[in-house]
Symmetry: C2
Subunit: 452 residues, 2 copies
């Protein structure tokens, strides 16, 4: 195994030249922040993997924090913070205002991705005012305890990336950088982490400082050494924890370098998809609409929400779902469902009140007695008046036409669909989309190949 | 309402000539039993509606019990009892040995249905040895307390019969004769019973003697005045109790004589059925096989069991059932299911062990990894290894061919199907069955018209 690590490390460890270049830019920007030190009582710090030497060669992220005094007021921090950030990034190639709990600036400079984030300089994490205030504390903790394990963090990150489970954002529900670092600190090495993961099960708890104050119901619980209330692994999904266990088990059984590189994207032909689809005997239905002009961090949670909402809508109307997924392709979004059926019988069971509740029973009878469109007499089943009525939606297409907009979509998706509309796509229409990435996406949907 | 009752009563009250005829036969048979009194210490008693004057004109049932001393042994009772019964019915038209807890004799004589049942003459019902030992006690209680309410019992029985909910056997799950009599004794009249039923709800308890010793979870609880442990209404189903409430409510709102006669059987045409079926958009599948040569009391519980077992079988294999029923037509039985679909996709989700259970996980992977016939990769869902495999049965026909005999049918139905086989029938084949009773049955299945 150590042999494999030795072969991987050179590819992921930044070389001296790369480090120097990053340091030059980081130092320059820090100096710029600190030029406002006297005027606003602020201080610049480099945080993140660049500060901790846990970044992977080729990654060009620089995270700079502007620390404001604990006593500063929030409004000042937000406006002055952004002002300073703008001056710091005055010569950047591209600048964008982004939002966490408060606004910060994102820019590109010599192909480096740079975040300049204002925060409060809080001594005790008990008093933090904003989630980002924790970051400098994380930085200090990792720098102090990581010792010589930076290479293990790099191996772990690369391993997680190749498995498609690195990143704590909503789109991934995976392992964040800080979580990876804490796991390495706790277990001492990447090999030890791999071996330890084989004993993980839901609710496994790691509490480096033994100071937890809360119970967490998450699949993996890693108590923040800088904040006893917080689970650093809260964003990690059960399935991604399990994927890690699964891949770790495979790797330990048969270590090889492939675990550190993403598999080459398989080229999928239309005939292959159609054959697969034919063998499965299922039905496909797609919804497509324009991509709203919002950043990924806003878009993906809304897509996740939409997928869940439409799944519930379909289930509520008796369609049985096998799988679903979405893809953003240039300016369009495709949300696809694989279903048992796309045509339901007209008949729908309608269950009324219990027979012994006189008032409800009489109202029900008055409403449905000999109503045109009834598909049965009123009968008694399990003590309740019941009858067969006409189903309103016998196809997903008619269901979507009437109820998609009201089933609980996100704000921006609702807006764009209201504005530009949406289309439904049949299996044939989906197969006809001539885009290699879309074909791979369909292939993954039909084969349940884990996206990685 | 009393007006309606007055119009109904003459049709259901036995006239003097009818009573006299019944008495002559009953007395004759009692004398025959009592001719063995000395030899075997037995005594004959007339029980049932004939003894209590609660029978309906036209009904010709005579229930005679041969009381053996409490101290007699069971074997003697069974053999001597049957011997006596055979001698009592020596000149009957047709004799049949039947079984309750022990054997008894059923015979026809001048178009009277006669049961001759041996039982123990138990003083205290606490000591009864066989369920039938209670009958003489029921007889005494009803005779003592029914007073002048015989006409109310007749009205109630006729009302229940017209609604199709009279009879406690498994086929009906309705109101027994004794239950009907107790309800009249408790409420004082048929009108009072109707009105009281509007306040019934599940677990309503009637305890005439206020001596209940057990909790019962049945829909209606009527404690046996001769046995504090027993619920006389145990066989009554929730739905039949509710049907009574429903019909009582309708009758009280608009009393008319129709409630005392079964509706004329509707004549149904093939086109009508096909139209109905087309409107519902569902699928039908039938199973037909020869009727085993067993009495109804044995056949119907087995049919009920078969219907439940096949419903479970279909549900377990992802077919969705809308309704089901069976009919015995001459020498054949038909069991019909109305389904959402008769064709399922090939794909079937197969859920394996949780990822963190190493041994199970490895067994599962060894079994399914790259297995031919897999319809997906192994993926992780809700913490468990999952994959799509080929469904074994995509149609009910193939499911029945392989699993009908092993899904838990009754003894005699299993025998006859093993011996003669069974056929499945498609919708077209079902519609082509040219039998008015079968058409009415299909019409009821598709419209949920309550069989009455």
């Amino acid at each position: 195994m150590q042999e494999i690590f030795k072969r991987i490390l050179p590819g992921i460890t930044p070389i001296e030249k790369e480090r120097r270049e990053l340091k030059i830019i980081a130092d320059l920007l820090l100096e710029r922040i600190n030029s406002f030190a006297k005027q606003f009582q602020v201080k610049g710090v480099l945080v993140g993997s660049a500060a901790r030497d846990t970044w992977i060669s080729g990654e060009h992220d620089i995270d700079l924090f502007i620390l404001f005094p604990e006593t500063a007021n929030r409004k000042t921090l937000e406006t002055t913070g952004l002002d300073i950030a703008r001056k710091v990034l005055f010569d950047a190639d591209k600048i964008e205002e982004r939002y966490a709990e408060h606004p910060y600036l994102h820019g590109m400079m010599n192909s480096y991705k740079i975040d300049v984030v204002p925060c409060f300089n809080i001594k005790d994490t008990k008093n933090i005012k904003s989630a980002v205030d924790r970051t400098p504390h994380h930085n200090n903790f990792v720098k102090k305890y990581i010792k010589t394990c930076e290479k293990d963090v790099r191996l772990a990150k690369q391993f997680l990336k190749a498995a498609g489970i690195y990143g704590s954002e909503l789109r991934t529900h995976g392992f964040s950088g800080y979580l990876t670092e804490l796991l390495i600190i706790h277990y001492g090495s990447f090999e030890a982490l791999l071996k330890a993961s084989l004993r993980w099960k839901p609710c496994t708890t790691i509490d480096i400082k033994k100071h937890a104050t809360h119970k967490h119901g998450d699949p993996l619980v890693v108590i923040d050494p800088t904040d006893p209330k917080r689970n650093v692994a809260a964003a990690l999904s059960l399935d991604n924890m399990c994927r890690f266990i699964d891949i770790a088990r495979n790797f330990l059984k048969n270590p090889c370098t492939e675990y550190f590189s993403k598999p080459a994207r398989k080229l999928v032909y239309q005939e292959e998809i159609e054959q697969l689809f034919h063998r499965r005997g299922t039905e496909l239905i797609g919804i497509t609409f324009h991509k709203p002009c919002i950043v990924e961090d806003t878009l993906y949670p809304q897509l996740e929400k939409m997928r869940n909402a439409v799944e519930k809508l379909l289930t509520r109307h008796d369609f049985r779902i096998i799988n679903s997924n979405y893809i953003v392709l240039n300016a369009d979004i495709y949300l696809i469902f694989e279903l048992f059926e796309t045509k339901l019988p007209m008949v729908k069971k309608h269950i009324g009140p219990p027979v012994w509740l006189k008032d409800n029973a009489e109202k029900f009878k008055a409403k449905y007695h000999k109503k045109s469109g009834n598909l049965s007499y009123i009968y008694i089943k399990d003590g309740k008046y019941t009858l067969n009525i006409q189903r309103v939606y016998t196809t997903p297409t008619s269901l979507f036409q009437s109820e998609l907009l009201t089933c609980g979509l996100g704000k921006h998706i609702t807006q764009i669909i209201k504005q530009d509309g949406f289309s439904t796509l049949s299996d044939h229409e989906l197969f006809a989309i001539e885009h290699p990435e879309f074909r791979t996406f369909l292939y993954h949907l039909l084969t349940h190949k884990q996206d990685s």
